[in-house]
């Protein structure tokens, strides 16, 4: 348990670096390897400015909470058979709680500077973040059906025969939609988008901004690890040891998420809200029904 937690803490910074590299590939800026580190260092040395009458405490803590949620979400992922940092029998629900709290944290991040653009970003994000969470609940329940358990360890064990991505082909894409929402990316980036000049982080600078980006990337890692575990068999795989498989699958999903974030355009929020409830949510019903019929004895 402690070994697993230490492994996570050691693996997270390099993986965040990799996430930043993925973000840089294809932007034509060069310096893919060292660029994110240099920019991060430069940002850390800049000052953060106060805004008029901000909520200081929440402004200080919001990036930390975001990072904490990414870490807790990551900690329910088993790294190898029997090696898991948070060994809790309701890991899937704990992951869901992390998603819900992410909405709260992003809202606080936008609320606390007392400035118009972050505030609009915060409110828009809540509109989209809440229903996007329903999608992940359905597809993760779909992953729990064959495992007959809410424990993430059991979910992995149940995929020895066949991965959930084959049992539940719609599950992974729908879960990726949630992933884009909690990592504030592309089509679901209603918090920090360009039409709000950076939205909830428009007023942040210096270390606060660097940490917010760090936490976003950490959340991408956590989400990808969770998706790899729930749909791609986690640490299961031939020849190579378990943690290596998990790492490889996580990297693939990180790359996929980054690519999806770049490919799909962002709708105006009201349109996305209807799309979520009327198209994606019924799709997730269907996905659950499909897996339900499949696993019936």
């Amino acid at each position: 348990m402690i070994a697993a937690a230490l492994t996570l803490l050691l693996a997270l910074p390099p993986l965040v670096w990799v996430a930043a590299m993925f973000d840089r590939i294809g932007t034509g800026r060069g310096a893919v390897l060292i660029g994110p580190l240099q920019n991060g260092a430069a940002l850390l040395l800049r000052p953060n400015t106060a805004t008029e009458a901000p909520d200081r405490l929440n402004r200080l803590l919001a990036p930390g909470w975001y990072l904490a949620l990414a870490l807790v979400g990551l900690s329910v992922v088993p790294l190898a058979p029997g090696v898991v940092a948070s060994d809790i029998s309701t890991g899937l629900v704990l992951w869901g709680a992390c998603e819900a709290l992410t909405v709260v944290v992003v809202f606080l991040h936008g609320w606390s500077p007392n400035a118009p653009l972050p505030l609009i970003g915060a409110y828009r994000y809540v509109a989209i973040g809440l229903p996007a969470m329903l999608l992940s609940m359905f597809v993760l329940i779909g992953a729990a059906l064959p495992a007959q358990s809410l424990s993430v360890v059991e979910v992995v064990e149940a995929q020895r025969e066949i991965w959930n991505v084959i049992r539940q082909p719609l599950g992974l894409p729908l879960f990726m939609a949630l992933g884009l929402a909690i990592t504030l990316r592309g089509p679901f980036d209603y918090a920090d988008g360009a039409e709000l000049a950076g939205g909830t982080s428009a007023e942040e600078s210096g270390p606060a901004l660097a940490l917010w980006h760090f936490a976003r990337a950490a959340m991408l890692v956590a989400f990808s690890a969770m998706a790899a575990t729930a749909f791609l068999g986690g640490h299961l795989g031939p020849v190579l040891p378990g943690p290596v498989w998990l790492l490889l699958k996580t990297l693939v999903l990180m790359a996929l998420s980054v690519a999806a974030g770049r490919f799909f355009a962002r709708m105006p929020p009201a349109r996305m809200l209807t799309f979520l409830w009327v198209v994606l949510l019924p799709l997730s019903f269907a996905s659950l029904a499909l897996v339900g019929v499949e696993v019936l004895p």
Binding site: P47, N48, T51, E52, P118
Partner: protein
């Protein structure tokens, strides 16, 4: 049941890390022009904090009801395979009833901006 100790430790670590890191940056004096909210050179008349006109409030109410129902589904999922067709039928009914709620909400336009 100490499975929650590790998440709590991780939360404390993350918060400590974030607070420490935010002490690194240079310190500046916060003058009033520096503190003004960014509006591209423009100025607001009032504080941004306000009785914010949330445009999707009926959706949030629908959402809460829906979320409540989802919480029944987790225990259901655990015993689904054991119970078999009964569980499928029961959840089908349950979801059917709630889908009516979504359809009604859609027809009444609650997913649009009010």
């Amino acid at each position: 049941m100490t499975g929650i100790a590790m998440p709590l430790i991780l939360v404390l670590l993350a918060i400590a890390f974030a607070v420490t890191m935010q002490r690194i940056g240079a310190k500046t004096e916060a003058t009033w022009p520096r503190r003004a909210p960014f509006l591209g050179g423009g100025l607001p008349e009032t504080h941004a904090w306000q009785r914010f006109h949330v445009r999707y409030y009926p959706m949030t109410l629908l959402f809460i009801a829906f979320e409540m129902e989802m919480m029944f589904m987790y225990p259901w999922a655990v015993v689904y395979v054991e119970t078999g067709i009964v569980a499928l039928a029961e959840m089908g009914m349950f979801l059917g009833i709630l889908s009516v709620g979504i359809l009604y909400g859609w027809r009444e336009g609650v997913f649009r901006w009010q």
